[in-house]
Structure formats: C-alpha cells, structure tokens
C-alpha cells in the first residue's frame, strides 16, 4: 500500500535521508531504529509531508503523494496520522477538543473555528478515548494530564483521523517505563485490532524486539537493516548503532542506568529550587 522510492532529503548540503527505497505491502507494526541523527524523524516527517522531499517518490495506493499541494496534500495528511515524541497537543484546550482536532484536515476552516462538531463526532471522539482508557479525562485540559495520558490523547487524535497509516516518532522517548509500556501496548492493540499500519521510530532495541513485526535499521540516512526482529543479532545492532566504543545493549534499553538517574535527580532538584 505504501512505497518509498529513492526518497532523499538534503538539509543545506547534509543528507538526512539518502536514497531510501522501502515497500510496505500490508498492515503491520514496523519499527525504525538507529542512532540519533540517522534520519528516522526526517523519514517519517517526509511521509506525512511535514518536511518536503528533496528527491524521490512516496507512492500510496499507486499515487505519488510527495508532490501534492494545498487541499490534496492536506487530504493525504489526514489519512496518515502522526504521533510525536512530545505529544504536540494544544495544552490549554480540553482533551476531547484535542481529539476532535483530528478532523481538521477535512473541515472547512470556519466550521472548525466555531467548533461545529456534530454529536456523532463527539460521541466517536469519546468512544476512542474510552477505548484508550482515558474517557474520564475528556473534559480536562490536556496540560493537566500526565505524559503517558497525553500520549494516549495524541493517539486518540490520530485515530480520530481514521488513518490508513499511523506514523509515530519516538512515541515513548519522553515517558517513564510504565507509561511507555502502556503507550506501546495501545499502539500495538490498535494495529492488530483495526488492522492499521503503524510505523514507529523507536530508540531502544528491546522495544523494537518486543512489539514489531518488521524492523528497519537506519544509519547516516540509509537503510542498513530490514527484517524480522528475531534477525536482529548483536552484530547487526552494532552495525546500526555504529562501532563506537560506548555502545552496548544497555545504553539502548529502557532501563535507566544509575548515573543517568542521579543526573535526572539533580536536574529536578535544581529546577525545583
């Protein structure tokens, strides 16, 4: 259903994504892993068209969406939802409104401004929130929620779009392990229950192993691995994450190393001061 052909993105001469070609034939949970700066975010953002493509094609059901403009581009965006590391919700509005924002791509702007949502739409938004277990928070402001809850609101907004594809850019990088697990479970459930396609950038190997049907490894803008998670040997991981001496399995795990904890403690103490 989705195919990337020779997709490339230059930033002022630096190649963030370099001639990437990939096919996604059927729904599944795809994880993209790689070091910081490998080009994972840029790849997802190009698919959603938040970042323009320098060269190459993005074919969705045979049509190149990489060159769409205006209303057509927005129509594509509304079919391809995005979930961000920092949730990117509107913090001062309530949760239900944030979910309803998922419909903005299909709405005339005036109707949206006057908040003309039909009862059916509101019911659907609440049903989605309920499915993600946060219907009771619907009337609260988004900013009043915990990080894990906010990420679930973001997923609800994505579902509201009724998307063909959900792109998730490090959805759990800002969450503590418990919330991270809830969010990943949610994404996985959506993918399997609805048969949607989910492509997620992940920053730890073990998350990728646990949730993905297919893992893509990127390095310096190029795809260096594409296969099943059980094919991810330590050697391959080393290839993806580079041969730098500091690499070890633990550094890419969700478990928090001791010194990082002290840092975080220190930071919070300072900030609280």
């Amino acid at each position: 259903m989705l195919e990337l052909r020779h997709l490339t993105r230059d930033f002022a001469g630096r190649c963030a994504v370099d001639n990437v070609s990939l096919r996604f034939d059927r729904p599944g949970f795809v994880g993209i892993i790689g070091r910081s700066g490998a080009g994972k975010s840029t790849l997802l953002r190009m698919i959603n068209r938040l970042t323009d493509v320098s060269a190459g094609e993005i074919l969705f059901q045979g049509r190149n969406v990489a060159t769409l403009r205006g209303a057509e581009k927005r129509a594509w965006q509304s079919r391809c939802a995005m979930v961000f590391q920092q949730f990117n919700l509107v913090p001062r509005r309530d949760v239900a409104s944030n979910v309803l924002h998922g419909l903005l791509g299909r709405r005339p702007v005036l109707a949206a401004i006057f908040d003309l949502w039909s009862e059916a739409e509101i019911t659907r938004a609440l049903a989605i929130l309920d499915r993600l277990g946060i219907a009771d928070q619907a009337a609260k402001r988004a900013e009043a929620l915990s990080g894990g809850q906010q990420q679930r609101v973001a997923i609800a907004r994505a579902l509201m779009q009724d998307p063909a594809i959900i792109l998730a850019d490090e959805p759990i990088a800002s969450l503590d392990p418990m919330n991270a697990q809830i969010v990943m479970d949610t994404l996985k459930r959506i993918q399997t229950e609805d048969g949607r396609m989910v492509i997620a950038n992940l920053h730890t190997l073990d998350t990728a192993r646990r949730y993905c049907d297919r893992v893509i490894g990127m390095r310096d803008g190029r795809v260096v691995f594409d296969g099943r998670p059980d094919q991810l040997s330590t050697g391959i991981a080393r290839e993806i994450y580079g041969a730098d001496a500091s690499f070890n399995e633990a550094a890419t795990s969700t478990a928090i190393p001791a010194d990082a904890r002290a840092d975080a403690d220190y930071a919070s103490a300072m900030l609280g001061a």
């Binding site: 129509a75 965006q77 995005m82 998922g102 791509g105 949206a112 907004r157």
Partner: protein, 284 residues
C-alpha cells in the same frame, strides 16, 4: 596557598580593577551628563529652577482656592462633563479594539515561524516600527486639518500608534509560542488559519489580552491629551477651561477630578485583571 590559586587571584584582581575603571567612568559620565543637562535646561528656561521652586504651588493653589470657594458648582459640573468623559473613553476603547485587531493580524504575519508569506515579515516589522515611533499627536494634528476636529482624528491616530505598539509586543509573544501544537495540527492536515486559531491563539491569548488592557489604560490618557489639541473628549474641555483662567477654575477642578478618578480606577481594575490573566496562563 597553592601555586594554582595565584593565577585565579591575580586574574580576579585584574578583573576587579578593570570593572572599577569602567564602572567609575560610566558613573562619572552619567553624573556629568545629568549635571550639565540640568544646567543647560535651567539656563535655556525662562525662569530658573531655584527661583521657581518657591512658586511651584502658586498656580495649583490659585485653582484650588477658587474651586473651594465655588465648591457648590462641582456636582453640576461633574454631570455636565460626563458625556465628554464617555467620549474620551470611547475613543480609547475603539482605538484599542481596532488597533489590537490590526496588531494581531500584523503580529501573526510577522512572527517568523507562523508567517504564511516570509518575505512580508521584514516590511511589516519596519512598518510597525514607524507606526510606533509616530507620536499620536502628530497624526492627530494633521488629521484635524483634513477631517476637522472631533473624535475621529484622535481615534485614527491612536489606532495607528496602538497597532504599531501592540503589534511589536504581540509578535514577540507569538514568536515565543510553542510550535509543537502547530506541528501537531499540521500533521492532521489542518490549514494555516486553523493552525493559528487552534494552536497559537490559546497560547498567546492571556498575554495578548494583558497587553491590550495595559494599552487601553495608556490610550485613555492619550485620548484625553489629544482632546487637549482639539480632538474632542474631556481633554478639550480641560484645555478651554484651563486656558480661560480665573472664573473657570472650578470647572477645571471638576474635569480634573473626573479624569483622574477614571484613570486611577481603570488602572486599578486592569492591574488586577492582568495579574489574573497572566497568572492563569502560567498556573494552568
């Protein structure tokens, strides 16, 4: 003391000496500027400071004693000048509203991350600088000649200045707005207006309205003063009575009391409203 400490000590001592020299020079410069400035002003003035200071209360006393004598007239005058006061307030309100609306549009168009047409950013900013730099009274005086006296020249003049002044403040706030929500809405396919409305407006609203309230306060003063040069409102009454002199000082006092009380009241209310707005914004 270890050898290593010698160097930080010497370094710091050098820093202190340098700082004292600069600080001293700056202080001397400031004192010289102030002293010579006051002396120049004093010399170029008709009356000297020392001679005048003894008489500083003469005029207020003249006014107040007459008002005290005719205090019975005051309530009547207060009622008589109320419509002028309302006109002054209306001028301030309309120009704050219109100026604020223009400023909001200009601010969004000139905030780098939000501007739909990036090439417009710099021209709009320069334009706002010019609007801001132009004293209201200058525009008003020119307009009075084109349109005649009355509230309209004052309104246009204050609106223009307000648009420039608020535009700059607004765009600073807009520039600092968090772009994550904007990106979030962009990813669902929302258009530019929807992104501004849903992702930017809620963030900037508290600060914008707080700035607008402050402007309203300032504009009341400005509109009273423009009346002073012939642009309607209570300032006009104040000038005609004040210039007439003896015999109308009771009216001067009445107008003055009205104006002053209004300014203090609005000031007080808007202070409280602003504190709540901005606090609400942070606390939430």
């Amino acid at each position: 003391m270890s050898a290593a400490a010698l160097s930080p000590t010497a370094e710091y001592l050098a820093l202190v000496r340098r700082r004292r020299v600069y600080g001293g020079l700056l202080l001397v410069l400031f004192i010289v500027l102030m002293a010579s400035g006051w002396r120049t002003a004093d010399a170029r003035n008709a009356g000297g400071f020392l001679d005048g200071i003894a008489h500083i209360l003469d005029f207020p006393i003249e006014i107040l004693s007459e008002a005290a004598r005719d205090w019975r007239n005051l309530p009547g005058y207060l009622r008589q000048y109320l419509p002028s006061l309302i006109e002054t307030l209306n001028i301030a309100a309309v120009s704050t509203l219109l100026g604020g609306l223009i400023a909001a549009v200009l601010a969004v168009l000139s905030a780098r991350a939000l501007a739909p047409l990036p090439w417009l950013v710099v021209p709009i900013r320069r334009g706002m600088d010019v609007m801001r730099a132009m004293p209201e009274i200058v525009i008003a005086l020119v307009l009075i000649f084109l349109l005649g006296g009355g509230p309209v020249p004052a309104m246009i003049a204050i609106t223009l200045h307000t648009a420039g002044a608020l535009g700059k403040l607004f765009s600073e706030v807009a520039e600092n707005a968090d772009l994550k929500p904007v990106e979030g809405l962009a990813s669902v396919g929302a258009g530019w207006l929807a992104r501004i409305w849903f992702a930017v407006a809620p963030q900037v609203a508290p600060n914008w309205s707080s700035y607008a309230l402050l402007r309203f306060e300032i504009n009341i003063r400005a509109s009273a003063i423009l009346g002073f040069v012939g642009a309607g409102g209570i300032g006009y009454d104040l000038r005609t009575t004040l210039q007439w002199g003896q015999g109308r000082y009771d009216q001067v006092v009445a107008i003055f009391a009205l104006l002053f009380l209004t300014i203090v009241l609005v000031d007080h209310l808007s202070d409280r409203a602003r504190a709540r707005l901005v606090q609400g914004g942070h606390a939430a």
